[in-house]
Symmetry: C2
Subunit: 267 residues, 2 copies
DNA sequence: AATGGCGGTAAACACCGTTTACACCCGTAC
DNA sequence: GTACGGGTGTAAACGGTGTTTACCGCCATT
């Protein structure tokens, strides 16, 4: 595949009314090539010079688009999150809006499936101290709902299941007092996010226990997926999907997601 | 701290009966310097030339001790695991042998505490696709008990709690059939490992459900710790230790680790 | 027709892992 | 006592990296 050395880049200054749109395209191609290198040749192969080479360009030209290599990698991470979110959203279109537990399962399965199929992207985005460089932001939904697209999908289906099912969650006085403030802030952020998506979320169904349960749910989902991707189970697991499904069923039972459709089994 | 450029290396050929022991010391210093760079300046600062510089040596000299940079990093990972294991073992000496649930908690707390205090070591060892380079080995306890020292501690306290408590575990026919073979292999490996430590483990207390529960336990512990280290909780958690303790209590209750000392509450 | 900015290049700098050839010192053997 | 050989280190070099600097050409504007 030495044909990569042949310049492939699209014409830049042709037929551009203002010369702006082509810039956007080049920018997109940069990140696309970067991701391709990440996927096919590993994190170590993602290099300004390699990207430029693949585009038939010199490395310093990339500085017209990004301040530094870390900056570029940051944007690539955002692209990855966006693609993951798009894939999950596509999976969701196949399910009826009413099957909210099914939508939760779909997102969980989609997350695992994506992580297993894209281990290097997963490692880059989900297994670094908050990003490729150190600071990516304080939190996901901290202040005003600046959620990453993947988190937004997750929280959206969580909101949907909240309004349609009676989940099994601890009472507010059962969640550790030291977490109340953080959970309240999370609740507020979720309210803003969900209101922006047009979901009328009654306040009383989103208790502290619900927020706490979402946290515990994420811990187990993430642990399961990360350990599979990293191959860090305490022993060889030859059918990881079966293990994942077992964990999903267990969590569904524990959190009250199992059972028939509808607002709850007994009401 | 430009004093690092001053050669600090210990005399090499002095007072060495065979010249072998000094080699060992130099080897140890190499990894020690590498770890210091990792801790204080991050993974990207761990560099053959930086290590050599810190030792008042040139980079090619390191090739007398390691085949490559990746080889060195591999050994550093092993050192890190060893230190973690030593720290956990030290914590355990403060607890009576009889308090087996307490020993499990100590290991869990020690693991989290270590991870939080050494985020970069944790990331290097526990958040890479099976090591710094790709292949570190098929599994932890797969064939003949070649467990890493950290895993060995974990499995040892697990074995101790097994023989002293009746845990709450699923019946064998409740664990997914697709996992039976792997769990059996894990069980066998554990038997070998524990027999090597002189623990007489009756076969019937180590059911498939026990092995499955250990797997689920590790998933939740790892997820909790990794998310805290990476700052990937769905919101800002200002008291992560409280969150961790809450998870630990919850797991203790679920797995039958809570309650008084002794073999079980009702028997 | 002159101007200014945008996108690109070439050259250079300091750093990286790695290889090669060479130098030194030690313990040993003749 | 001298020659040898192996273990330990160096200097120099190669190709690779991120990044900066100076320059160059084209396009849209004035």
């Amino acid at each position: 595949m030495t044909e990569a050395t042949r310049p492939v880049r699209a014409e830049r200054h042709e037929r551009a009314g203002r010369g702006e749109r082509t810039r956007e395209e080049t920018d997109q191609q940069i990140r696309s090539v970067a991701r391709d290198l990440l996927v096919t040749r590993g994190r170590a192969a993602v290099t300004l010079r390699a990207i430029a080479r693949e585009m038939g360009i010199t490395a310093p030209a990339l500085y017209r688009y990004y301040d530094s290599f870390d900056d570029l990698l940051q944007r690539v991470c955002e692209d990855i999150c966006l693609d993951l979110a798009a894939e999950l959203a596509a999976d969701l279109t196949a399910l009826p809006e009413t099957d909210t537990p099914g939508r939760v399962f779909a997102v969980c399965r989609g997350f695992r499936s994506w992580a297993v199929r894209h281990p290097r992207e997963f490692t880059l985005v989900f297994a670094s101290p908050a990003g490729p460089s150190e600071p990516i932001g304080p939190d996901c939904v901290g202040a005003g709902g600046n959620v990453d697209p993947f988190g937004r999908i997750f929280l959206t289906v969580a909101g949907q299941v909240l309004v349609t099912r009676d989940l099994v969650v601890p009472a507010d006085d059962e969640v550790p007092a030291a977490l109340h403030a953080d959970l309240q802030a999370f609740r507020s952020g979720m309210f803003d996010t969900l209101r922006a998506t047009g979901l009328p979320l009654p306040e009383q169904v989103f208790s502290l226990g619900v927020a706490y349960s979402m946290l515990r749910f994420w811990v187990r989902l993430y642990g399961q997926v990360a350990l599979e991707v990293f191959g860090r189970f305490p022993f060889q697991v030859s059918d990881p999907e079966a293990l994942f499904e077992a964990m999903l069923s267990e969590m569904a039972a524990e959190f009250g997601l199992a059972g028939e459709f509808g607002p709850a089994t007994d009401e």
